[in-house]
Symmetry: C2
Subunit: 412 residues, 2 copies
């Protein structure tokens, strides 16, 4: 760990956690820092006692490739408040895209190396291919990497019992490899070799959940928890090697199972920071899965998840466009800041008070400046109201509750 | 209670609650039925052991009036799955709007009579004006009415301590009346007279929360709970008179206080069905307050709220347009069905399983038919994919996890 003291002090302040507590959490792996030692960015810390944060996924699939568009998406995600970004690009030009994106990215940047390793159909998952790709991306400056190391051969039979056996791309690639070769997951086999590489660059490992449930009926099942136990063991190895690790989580989980899901991950992985995708609280929200995911993410964040991976309105339907990215980031920012208010962060409490005061005094500009997405709020306000005034078109002048009470019921 | 047995049987089936349990809940006021005895609609039952439902608000303010537009909004709300509708119209043409809307509405229809009583600025809140208006609307067929009966003179000092003292329109009108006249809330004073009228038409009283917190910092405070205790007493009176009653709830409540908020309302009001507006889990989501509200509503619903009042993206900014209404209804439908899945309703569990099976088998049309808003999902899918196929543009053909696993990893 080579984070300068001054950076740690800044983190401690921003995260409202005393310096020695931050140090303690970093030492015990309860908090991690996302920053490749080769990169020149402000490090971002992730952990349960720190502010809940959001990640936004970018990237092209084999079907659609446009570098300029991807950079626009990246800028939009940052503008809407993404704390970290991940490039999930697939296909032949994945490397090119990654290099272009990382250059523009001033927050921690994550990848899923298996996507590049298997970009050519002929490529198998050999030891050298895996380690070479990880070192290549490490040298490019990637700050954190999702590695599906916990999905083991013996787990596949549990997956087969499910409604949707495997919905993780990385998980499916590994399952395919296991099925075709009859061998163990190579990311599991070569885990210590991987750790030796990532340690050199202070890269954080994000232990991927190849068996995350992709249907509410599959949530909290044997497949998910069996892999989770494996992740817990691997995370211990990370600690032994002095490598930071996060634990990835689902997926699709109904509201009544979210708390158990989070607590179990916390317990099995001894307080490692959790990084969840959603979870989606219903399977039926296609077209608006950013909503079902934000509902689940808020609850998961409240119960202890530290990093929320934004889901877009295109989930289950296709690759997100720039508007999807904006909407996903904006909606997940609401989820994360709702969690931060609930967790009692002073800065968030103050901002909430300030915007409410501004609301009471009809200071519209101040409201927009304090809103999580002030631009959208302002555009909508202008659309709905002809004139700025001490009321809005919701109730009109005569029936504005705020106005009525302050005028007639004696608020000083 | 004059609901025919056959209707009760239908409710019992739809709500997956045995007939005698439904009867018990209705007898003890733990469930209510929304239906004016003069109206020809299917009655809708609301209660904790029944399916979580959504209400959508319609109506014009003094600033904007267009009857055709309101009817379009009503139809949109119904199309997007509103279980009940409320007309919150203000101003001189409120009566005209109400009559037009109720004619088109095939679900329970609610109003806030105080809005019409005070439509002329000169009008005070006299006993006869209140009772006459309630009877007028009862004769028109209104199924449930929000009445702010619990806000008392002694509560105003608690409201004054708040960041946002009163944000309820009805609450503000009553506070104004109390402040100007020095007298008690007339809805409180004439409560038994009101009950005698509504009883004749089997109208359900929705006991309004004039002191609902309008800022997260004001949540679960003395003002809110003092009024709630009053509502609990009034609800007992309703039971004595054989009148159905729901209890309205907030508002703005941070995630960490939602469970307490719901449990307290449940306890104080002895299990009466709860009808909450949101709650919003942050004050900073202007422009997307349907999201912060859906997050809070899901959690509130999970903890026991029976009817979720949809909040639109225009909240805090102006009067919602038709797109706001659609978005609010669609988003709240996701919240309510997430709650119903969590509550274990078989029909919801089955639909979730079916859509997940359809997802696995790439049966797109079936997915759209089972999605909560299939039209939007289908439009988005078409936009993002050139051809229907056994994959989508998210991962492309070679990397589709579902496809890969079923082809290579041996799912039968």
């Amino acid at each position: 760990m080579e984070i300068p003291q001054i950076e740690l002090k800044q983190i401690s302040q921003k995260e409202e956690l005393p310096f020695y507590e931050l140090e303690k959490d970093l030492r015990t792996g309860k908090a991690v820092i996302l920053k490749n030692s080769l990169r020149k960015i402000h490090p971002v810390a992730v952990g349960k006692r720190l502010r809940c944060k959001i990640n936004v996924n970018l990237g092209v699939s084999g079907e659609r490739i446009n570098l300029k568009k991807e950079i626009k998406k990246l800028k939009a995600a940052l503008e809407y408040g993404a704390d970290t970004l991940m490039d999930l690009s697939l296909g032949r030009r994945a490397g090119e895209i990654r290099k272009a994106l990382i250059k523009e990215c001033f927050v921690p940047f994550g990848t899923v190396p298996i996507y590049s390793i298997t970009q050519e159909k002929t490529a198998g998952l050999s030891r050298s291919k895996i380690l070479d790709e990880i070192e290549r991306q490490a040298l490019e400056g990637v700050d954190f990497m999702t590695l599906h190391c916990g999905l083991r051969k013996k787990h596949l039979e549990y997956a087969r019992r499910r409604i949707c056996p495997i919905v993780s791309r990385g998980g499916a690639i590994i399952a395919e490899h296991i099925s075709k070769t009859g061998r163990e997951n190579p990311f599991y086999e070569y885990f210590e070799d991987i750790l030796k590489i990532v340690k050199k660059y202070s890269i954080t490992v994000s232990l991927g959940d190849g068996l995350r449930p992709g249907a509410c009926a599959d949530a909290n099942d044997k497949a998910q928890y069996s892999e989770l136990y494996e992740l817990g063991k691997l995370r211990k190895k990370c600690l032994d090697y002095g490598v930071f690790a996060m634990i990835e989580g689902p997926g699709h989980v109904p509201i009544n199972l979210i708390e158990e899901n989070v607590k179990k991950a916390e317990e099995i992985c001894d307080g490692a920071p959790l990084y969840f995708l959603g979870p989606l609280t219903t399977d039926r929200a296609a077209g608006r899965d950013h909503i079902s995911a934000a509902i689940g993410a808020s609850l998961a964040g409240f119960h202890g998840v530290s990093l929320l991976c934004a889901v877009t309105p295109s989930e289950h339907l296709g690759i997100p466009d720039i508007n999807d990215i904006k909407e996903a980031a904006a909606v997940f920012k609401i989820a994360a800041e709702s969690v931060n208010l609930a967790k009692g962060f002073n800065s968030e409490r103050e901002k909430n008070k300030e915007i409410s005061e501004a609301r009471k005094s009809f200071d519209w500009e101040k409201q927009f400046s304090l809103a999580l997405d002030g631009k959208t709020a302002k555009r909508k306000y202008k659309l709905l109201n002809k004139n700025k005034d001490k009321f809005c078109s919701m109730c009109g002048k005569d029936f504005c509750a705020m106005r009525k009470f302050s005028e007639c019921a004696g608020v000083k």
